[in-house]
């Protein structure tokens, strides 16, 4: 039953994937001719034609597209113009850096948000609730590029306690993760608080009180489990946003992830790499979505696929 469901989802995913790749194929070609970028400004017409022929750019676009599809079937994703290597390898190499960043940021943001949101909901309108509301609203609405640049200015340039960019030591992780988790944290606190307040007003909470259960068990045992479904929906959505490459944050902090690779390749008109990064992230996003559906089933026995 469950396997059938996953199979069905995978099948639908492939259809949307083909649509997505088609769209990306034509959109990248609208950015212009790569030979203008890869050859010297004064190179001859012959040299340009040779470059085009070598990379198959001289063919009509629909022929190029059919060729691309055919290559896809034999798992040939094309060569990077810039790096002269298999495009998919370039994309796969950059992906772990993004995944690690996204995973740590989301895990921290979700755990913190659930704790803060649940405690705020347990005592609505208390001081804690008001502070949590203010902080989360600020987090959800502050632009990440601004906080990233201010962070670099104050912590790296000004105080010199953290590195400005790059990877290497644990210190390099702090600022990118803090900036990345700010928005998910803010949004999730608000979602958790809202769903927890309505869960705490549910009749089964009254039953739990009538049973004489401890207050923290009622909050974290009975109410939280029931309020997690909408939280997971939103968290999943935010997670896909991060997997998709935290383009801005990766670029600002020079983080060698897939977001940075994607934006670089677009600027460099490295078509095969753009297509490969999108293929990799799209598959990851489909997997996350299926994982969320499975989480639903685990959390709510009433849901069956």
């Amino acid at each position: 039953m469950m396997l059938g469901y996953i199979g069905r989802r995978a099948y639908h995913s492939i259809i949307s994937l083909v649509g997505l790749l088609t769209l990306v194929f034509f959109l990248t070609r609208l950015t212009g001719d790569p030979s203008a970028l890869y050859l010297p400004l004064d190179s001859s017409l012959e040299a340009r034609e040779a470059f085009a022929r070598l990379n198959g750019l001289d063919q009509p676009i629909y022929v190029q597209f059919l060729q691309y599809l055919q290559n896809l079937l034999s798992l040939d994703f094309g060569q990077s113009l810039r790096r002269n290597r298999s495009a998919i390898d370039v994309a796969l190499e950059a992906f772990p850096a993004t995944l690690k960043l996204a995973f740590v940021a989301m895990a921290l943001a979700t755990t913190l948000a659930i704790t803060v949101g649940a405690l705020a909901a347990a005592r609505p309108r208390s001081i804690f609730d008001r502070v949590a509301g203010l902080v989360s609203l600020a987090g959800a609405s502050t632009p990440d590029f601004w906080i990233a640049i201010v962070g670099i200015l104050v912590l790296a340039v000004g105080l010199g306690v953290l590195p400005t960019s790059g990877t290497g030591t644990g210190w390099h992780w702090i600022m990118p993760i803090a900036v990345l988790m700010l928005r998910p944290f803010g949004l999730l606190v608000q979602v958790v608080r809202g769903t927890m307040i309505s869960a705490l007003a549910s009749p089964y909470i009254k039953t739990a009180h009538a049973k004489g259960m401890k207050r923290h068990k009622i909050i974290f045992g009975h109410a939280l489990r029931n309020s997690l479904l909408p939280v997971i929906t939103v968290a999943g959505d935010l997670a896909t946003g991060l997997i998709n490459g935290a383009v801005v944050v990766e670029t600002i902090f020079g983080w060698p992830g897939i977001g940075k690779l994607m934006i670089d390749s677009i600027i460099q008109r490295d078509f095969a790499v753009v297509q490969s990064t999108i293929l990799v992230t799209a598959i990851a996003i489909f997997i996350v979505n299926i994982a969320i559906d499975l989480l639903y089933v685990m959390l709510d026995p009433r849901i069956r696929y």
């Binding site: 009180h209 009538a210 049973k211 029931n226 026995p301 009433r302």
Partner: protein, 544 residues
């Protein structure tokens, strides 16, 4: 026998306010009562009478704020319940005082198995190391009558029927053999036949354990069946109290007397309200109507067909009222939904004034919708909360342009409101500003707005208090004779239609088991199921 020194719980001069936007509203006003071990005290009252609030304070389930215990004492076995801190309160709840509620589906946590939820009672009172918890839970489930308890212990609440869920709640409540069980409308959400089983179970458990039972209900039959003593509450005050038989046979207070006459289940004292002249013309003719659902289409379970409505035929003449009676799941609401084209049938025909309803489309369907209207069970849920009464009632005229020119809308809204017993100035209010009975009147006014010939009422009075129920039925009967309407009146409550319906169809599991003239059905029911429905009305305790 009711000496207060023997009482396990004594409530003296309890007054509770609810603060809404700074204005305190008195929910409970100077209420006193007590209950002794082994005794059943029934608190009888309609919604908003303060009966649930007064028992809620006993368990500390009233949130303060907005609730506020202004004065009074709650003495349980010598302990003042108003002075308890959280920890001592927790030690009492579930162990010495337990409670069951009206809607067991909502009061059970949907994501945990019933076994785990019952076991929590033991855990909460550090009683979980005594013997094997799982075995104790299974024994409890068995005791309250859950078949195959050893396996069902791992089931989730949604996998039980309504009656079984209430049994689970009861198992949870009696787990530690409390001194007092408070039952807040425990059978209101259940079918009559299930209701009597649950009441019987509560009675048996009380005899076994000698616990005191405080039962809150609005249902006079339930009250009579269970009570040793009764207090009647109205508007937050106790208006009458005494031995059950005395209160029932010789009510002193005017409110109690009025409540007793609202009892629809007595043999008819008044002449039945005459229907509109039943003319020979057939208005609605339903032929072999069926609705099947395919269940369990997963790959593990084979496909099963569920026949919600199974080959049902009946006719409604112009001016006639046909009652469709059955318990939940009998298919009566499915019929209503199909007749209004809210749902498509699997097979069969329904001719309205000679035209097949299920073949109608576009303009013809629109014209049909105007001639048949529906009144739903939950008037609040079926009205847009952001629309005021004027726009709710006049909406049909915006759809069916030919009924009324726009200039006349306001006057007509006032006329309709007055027709259903409300006032013209109510037009500018919103649904939440009315009581349940008033909202149902608005729903009726809305149904009347399109000048229908047939009104389908689906449990239209089931959510209302008894005295209000009779008022609304009286209104429907009055409109019937004034406007020449026909009704299909769907209900689970057989006695309620006795004075209203010309003919009654009894349904069970999708099939019509009996279809006859109302008086004949009550005097000489022919099908065993009809007999069981008539007999499952509980008998007074003192008459047994």
């Amino acid at each position: 026998m009711t000496a207060s020194d023997k009482a396990i719980l004594t409530i003296e001069n309890l007054t509770v306010d609810f603060l809404s936007e700074g204005d305190p509203a008195r929910a409970v006003d100077n209420v006193s009562f007590n209950v002794c071990p082994g005794e059943t005290l029934v608190i009888l009252g309609e919604s908003g009478s303060g009966k649930s609030v007064s028992t809620g304070t006993v368990m500390g389930l009233i949130d303060c704020p907005p609730g506020d215990i202004v004065s009074g004492a709650l003495l349980f076995d010598g302990i003042d319940l108003t002075e308890l801190d959280e920890e001592s309160r927790r030690a009492l709840n579930g162990r010495r005082i337990a409670m069951i509620f009206q809607d067991p589906l909502a009061y059970l946590n949907p994501v945990y198995t019933v076994g785990r939820q019952i076991a929590e009672v033991f855990e909460a009172h550090s009683d979980s190391d005594v013997g094997d918890v799982r075995e104790r839970v299974a024994k409890l489930l068995e005791r309250v009558g859950i078949p195959d308890a050893g396996r069902r212990i791992d089931y989730y609440p949604h996998q039980f029927s309504g009656g079984q869920r209430q049994r689970v709640m009861i198992a949870m409540a009696i787990a530690l053999k409390p001194d007092i069980l408070i039952a807040d409308e425990p059978t209101t959400a259940l079918d009559v036949s299930v209701q009597s089983q649950i009441l019987e179970l509560l009675g048996d458990l009380q005899r076994e354990t000698g616990m005191a039972l405080i039962m809150i209900t609005h249902d006079l039959e339930v009250a009579a069946a269970m009570a040793d003593r009764i207090i009647v509450m109205n508007g937050g005050k106790v208006v009458e109290s005494g031995k059950a038989q005395d209160v029932f046979t010789n009510p002193v207070h005017a409110y109690t007397r009025r409540l007793m006459t609202a009892l629809p289940h007595r043999s008819p004292t008044t002449e039945p309200t005459p229907s509109a002249e039943v003319q020979g013309e057939i208005l609605l003719k339903v032929e072999n109507l069926s609705k099947h659902y395919v269940l369990g289409a997963g790959s593990f379970s084979p496909k099963r067909e569920f026949r919600a409505v199974d080959d049902v035929s009946f006719t409604v003449h112009r001016g006639e009222t046909v009652g469709i009676v059955g318990e939940s799941g009998s298919g009566k609401s499915s019929i209503a939904r199909m007749l209004l084209r809210l749902d498509e049938p699997t097979s069969g025909r329904a001719l309205f004034a000679g035209e097949d309803i299920f073949a109608l489309e576009g303009r013809a369907l629109n014209g049909f919708r105007r001639r048949v209207q529906m009144v739903f069970q939950d008037p609040f849920g079926s009205m847009n909360p952001r629309m005021n009464v004027r726009s709710i009632i006049s909406e049909p005229w915006a759809i069916h342009r030919d009924i009324l020119p726009k200039a006349r809308w306001n006057d007509r809204v006032v006329e309709l409101l007055e027709l259903v017993g409300l006032k013209g100035e109510h037009a500018d209010r919103h649904p939440h500003q009315f009581s349940g009975g008033q909202r149902q009147r608005i729903a009726i006014a809305r149904a009347l707005a399109s000048e229908p010939e047939l009104i389908v009422c689906d449990e239209a009075v089931s959510a209302l208090d008894v005295s209000i129920q009779m008022q609304v039925i009286g209104l429907l009967a009055d409109l019937r004779s004034r406007l020449g309407l026909s009704y299909v009146f769907i209900t689970h409550d057989l006695p309620i239609v006795r004075e209203f319906a010309d003919r009654i169809m009894v349904m069970q599991q999708g099939k019509v088991v009996e279809d006859s003239n109302t008086e004949m059905l009550f005097n000489s029911p022919s099908h065993p199921y009809t007999m069981s429905l008539l007999n499952s009305v509980p008998r007074p305790k003192w008459a047994r």
